[in-house]
Amino acid sequence: MNPDRNLGTLLDGTLHDTLVVSLPHFRPELCLAATIVLLLLCRMLPLLRLVDSGFLALGGVLFSLFFAWDDVLSLHGGPWASTIGDLLAGRQELFGGLLAFDSLTAYIRLLLTGFLVLFILFTKVSGIPDSEDGADFYTLVLGSTLGMCLMASANHLLMVFMAVEMASVPSYALAGLLKGRKASSEAALKYAVYGAGAAGVMLYGLSLLAGVLGTCHMPTMARALASLDSMWMPGGTGLALAIGGLMVAAGLAFKLSAVPFHFWCPDVFAGAAAEVGAFLSVASKAAAIALLLRVAFGLGTTGPGPDHAVEMAALGETRHFIVGIVALLAALTCTLGNLAAYGQTNMKRLLAYSTIAHAGYLMMGVAAAVALAGRDADASRSAVAAVCFYLGTYVFMNLAAFAIVALLRNSLRSEEIASYAGLIRTNPGIVVATGVVLVSLIGLPPLAGFISKFLVFSSVMEAVSLDAERPLMLVLLVVGGINTVISLFYYLRVLKVMTFDPPPADRTVDAFPLVSIPGALVTALVVPVVSLGIFWSGLYAFARLAGAFAS
């Protein structure tokens, strides 16, 4: 054997893997990275400082969006594919198995970059950050999004950890963006400390899993899990696996702000600017759910292969464990989020708890998807599609909600719910827009939020009817139903204050009118909330495409 030739093949192989296979599917991330570099460069050169960092970032993100869109279309058959079989072939491992490119990656990346475009436009309108902070802000946002894209495509435990950190660390700084404000600094510190703790726990869990199974590559780990006789074999292997799994779950739950790892969320949302809240509540949540899907399906299922059926059966216990954790967290998160939202007087805090509750609904869908994976692959795919659809509508609902909060803050100088009293008298358009968003968050037809909730509940019901983890799924259905009813109160309370209550006597300023740039932004965000509630076949086609990732 000639060692030189061996090394040569290895290098050739790596080069080929990187340049030919991986990089073409990595263009959106590359664009984001290039934009970050540009933003930083512009800071250094005096002449380039005149360039508006917001529009520079927007330009970069638009390129990224274009490539993300291109990637979705390049999937076999695209969103209009009639058969699922074509799509399954689309899965590719990038960078030697660190990342996976498949329909879920493509969908979530499209969602994230699309959200980023809307988000940057929103920050330009709302005026936070100012031109001084702009470069920092957009660098952090883009960096965090880059991490989120990696979360959505992670295929390797190390990548999972790196991606989570890549997404989190800029978020900590973002939370402290309002430098002069005590609450903001406190929020940032709290977030960073919690985040560091959660990351440590997660890393420990990852190392336990990797130690027992001998690899960090998730598909290989799943095969190794399948070859174990039973999770509860003697010698503590099972215990180590279970503890490792729980610790990873804790780390993910932190990113999802799932109860009982949610304490940072209301404080951060209330302390940080509404713009940061919008970013964290939408992008961070979408990425965290995608990562949850990745890990749950990565460890709980195996891809197509000669022993597929045998392996899937052997992984039943693993999936049962995963479903148990996710379902329990989902039920807790949903209920506590909704109950805690009652007492809130600050709109951002209320939305923080609403975000927590919605994470619960989303996790119900994930639990159903994993539960169905061993029973009926098609049903499992449609459960993933339900979750992805939910994320798609969630972008508009929550971004609109935070946009309204931020824009009202600009004119009313307050984020307290009480300060919105009687807005209907002066600004009916804004109140109607808020109404549409909040009612959509409750989940009433004919708005997008209803369809999302319908799809998730429908997947859970399908799991019940196919007898996949039936008792647990029944509990989830009941919990979801009850939560929908109790969430009515606090969303409606905001509307009640806006419409029924008389305006405060000392209000001198007016909110912005609907016919203005901020008004146009709100309209542009609210129109999809209505139209996706009536014509949802299009987005659902994309979501189904994303769902095809579940083998």
Binding site: D378, I424, P428, V432, V439, L444, P445, P446, F450, F454, F457, S458, M461, E462, V464, S465, L466, L474, L477, G481, I482, T484, V485, L488, F489, L492, K496, T499, F500, W536, S537, Y540, A541, R544
Partner: protein, 612 residues
């Protein structure tokens, strides 16, 4: 799913039904745009009223071809039992959700009632001065929601319209209501939403258990899963596509769900949780959702609050139409789709009916507030509807004769329509008085007859219709229901007959306290002016209809009886052959024919009795 979409052109009812359904919503959207300048409140009112009138005329064109010269495609054929004017367009193919509309003898009169009451309520909305434009936008959205529930044949679509009504109603009560309006509005919203969430679970349950592949070719056509408009090769291809599909095809189609529920090997009859069948669960969940709307004791408590706080026109809509949605849902959805559960829970439905009948009547007796009394009378009257719907007497002991049950269901349907007229009238009459003297305390009235003779006569006529005086519309339904329940249970029949006395007591007592007496001594006595022409234009049609339907109930029975009888006959047949497993007997047809003749005779008797 391989079912070729049918073109709108081939469906003559597409535009009429779609317009009836969406015209109010479209106008609401236009009103929301700043086309009519601020301050021109009267223009908004006229646009709103014109819309409701246009919708009413459209629905009249559809429902009563005799007026407009029959024969146009898309019109309703009176006396036909089946589903007519079906509109079928794909909406969400991934879930087989369709824009599926249609009317039959059950829904057509209710649609007409809705559009008619909407016109009257619109006219009654003139005195509303606060935030005129939003009021009318919400009012028109509400109308679309109500009509949508009656014409939807797709369960998903049904649910969407069912929920669409909630928000406008919440604001209509919460902004334009009385002093405790916020409490009443949230209570209404909360009760109904709780019911709808249960309904959603039931919908999903039925959806995932259903499979249209089990239906025969004829059933696929009859249920419009495969559109009958398809001809020849297209139809055959659509049939093959359904039957050769590798996996179950779930459906939201209400007709298909009913056909599946009534098939000999219904997937809904499989045991589900805790030893109960899936259809029992679905029936109970749906029933709770519907009886909240009816409302039935013990989930009726939102109603008195909502009624008392709501402005007069909204009370009219609430009592006249919204309560009927519950009864309609039970008749259209619960029984046909879950016949087994309907049979085993017949006692529950009937018992709830009688309890609310008696409880509502006693509660009405105890009220001091005029409007609250009328609200409780609604609870009592809707109890008859529940009793009539539930008297499932076509069982072995009755040799599967369905005449008594058909009588009950016909009576319940008639009662719903009659109550729509009389309760809307009663609420309007209370409103007329309240507009003048600004109180509703029964103890402080008296002597109205002397001050406002015309108003008082019309009001007394309407109250007598509510009382169930022979010759007025309230009588027919109550008697048919009471008679039919005799076959089912003597006790319930006695109770419901006894309630008639209570009804007479509270209504006569109210009439005595309000309209009779020497002179009015309450506050604002000098405001007791005669009825305006606008008020007369609302009151007179209601009184006339109350008399016409009392004298000539055939006008209504012509519509409802064929459809109701067919549904009851089908379910009786289902009880005999599927539930009890008896093979088809020659005598059965004779018995059913006999049943139909007897029913016809009973109805004829009332017609004669009424005109006496």
């Amino acid at each position: 799913m391989g079912i070729a979409p049918t073109l709108a052109v081939t469906q003559p009812a597409f535009w009429p039904l779609t317009l009836i359904l969406f015209l109010p919503a479209i106008v609401a959207g236009i009103l929301a745009l700043p086309i009519i300048p601020r301050g021109k409140d009267d223009s908004v009112r006229w646009v709103g009223l014109a819309t409701t009138i246009a919708v009413f005329i459209l629905s009249l064109w559809m429902a009563v071809p005799a007026i407009f010269g029959a024969g146009s495609p898309g019109q309703f054929t009176v006396g036909e039992a089946g589903m007519q004017a079906v509109v079928k367009q794909p909406w969400i193919p991934a879930f087989n959700i369709e824009y599926l509309l249609g009317v039959d003898g059950i829904s057509m009169p209710l649609v007409l009632l809705t559009t008619f009451l909407a016109v009257l309520a619109a006219a009654a909305s003139w005195p509303i001065e606060k935030h005129v434009r939003p009021y009318w936008i919400l009012f028109l959205l509400l109308e679309t929601g109500m009509i949508g529930v009656f014409v939807s044949l797709d369960f998903f679509l049904f649910y969407v319209f069912w929920e669409v009504m909630l928000l406008p109603m919440y604001f209509l009560i919460g902004i334009w209501g009385g002093p405790r309006r916020e409490y009443a509005a949230i209570k209404f919203f909360l009760y109904t939403l709780a019911g709808s969430v249960l309904m959603l679970l039931a919908i999903l349950m039925l959806y995932y258990a259903s499979d249209v592949r089990t239906l025969s070719d004829d059933q696929l056509l009859a249920t419009h899963v495969v559109s009958p408009a398809l001809e020849g090769a297209d139809r055959a291809a659509a049939m093959t596509a359904v039957h050769s599909h590798p996996k179950p095809i779930h459906t939201f189609n209400l007709l298909a769900l009913a056909a599946i529920g009534q098939s000999p090997v219904s997937p809904f009859a499989a045991t589900s949780f805790w030893g109960m069948t899936l259809e029992s669960w679905a029936f109970l969940l749906l029933l709770i959702g519907f009886i909240i709307k009816v409302p039935v004791v013990p989930v009726h408590t939102w109603l008195p609050d909502a009624h008392v706080e709501a402005p007069t026109p909204i009370s009219m809509i609430l009592a006249g139409v919204l309560l009927k949605l519950g009864g309609y849902g039970i008749l259209r959805i619960c029984y046909p789709i879950c016949p087994g559960a309907g049979l085993s829970f017949a006692w529950l439905v009937c018992g709830l009916g009688v309890v609310s009948m008696v409880y509502g009547a006693f509660a009405a007796l105890a009220q001091k507030d005029f409007k609250r009394m009328v609200a409780y009378s609604s609870v009592s009257h809707m109890g008859y509807v529940m009793l009539g719907l539930g008297v499932w007497s076509a069982v072995a002991g009755h040799e599967y004769q369905w005449d008594a049950w058909a009588q009950g269901v016909n009576g319940a349907m008639f009662q719903m329509l009659a109550h729509g007229i009389s309760s809307a009238g009663m609420f309007f009459m209370v409103g007329v008085l309240y507009d003048r003297v600004h109180h509703r305390n029964l103890e402080e009235f008296g002597g109205i007859f002397n001050r406002m003779p015309l108003y008082a006569s019309l009001a007394v006529a309407i109250f007598f219709a509510g009382l169930g005086l022979p010759g007025l519309c309230g009588f027919i339904g109550e008697v048919l229901v009471t008679l039919s329940s005799w076959n089912y249970s003597r006790l319930l029949a006695v109770c419901s007959a006894f309630t008639v006395i209570l009804t007479a007591a509270y209504i006569l007592w109210a009439i005595q306290r309000v309209y009779l007496g020497a002179e009015y001594k309450g506050p604002h006595g000098d405001h007791l002016t005669p009825m305006t022409r606008r008020e007369l234009a609302i009151a007179v049609p209601l009184v006339v209809l109350a008399i016409v339907f009392g004298v000539a109930p055939q006008l209504i029975f012509n519509y409802i009886t064929p459809t109701v009888n067919r549904q009851v006959e089908t379910l009786a047949e289902w009880t005999r052959s599927v539930h009890d497993g008896h093979p088809a007997a020659a005598g059965a047809t004779a018995a059913t024919d006999k049943g139909a003749v007897e029913l016809q005779a009973t109805i004829d008797t009332f017609t004669v009795g009424g005109s006496r």
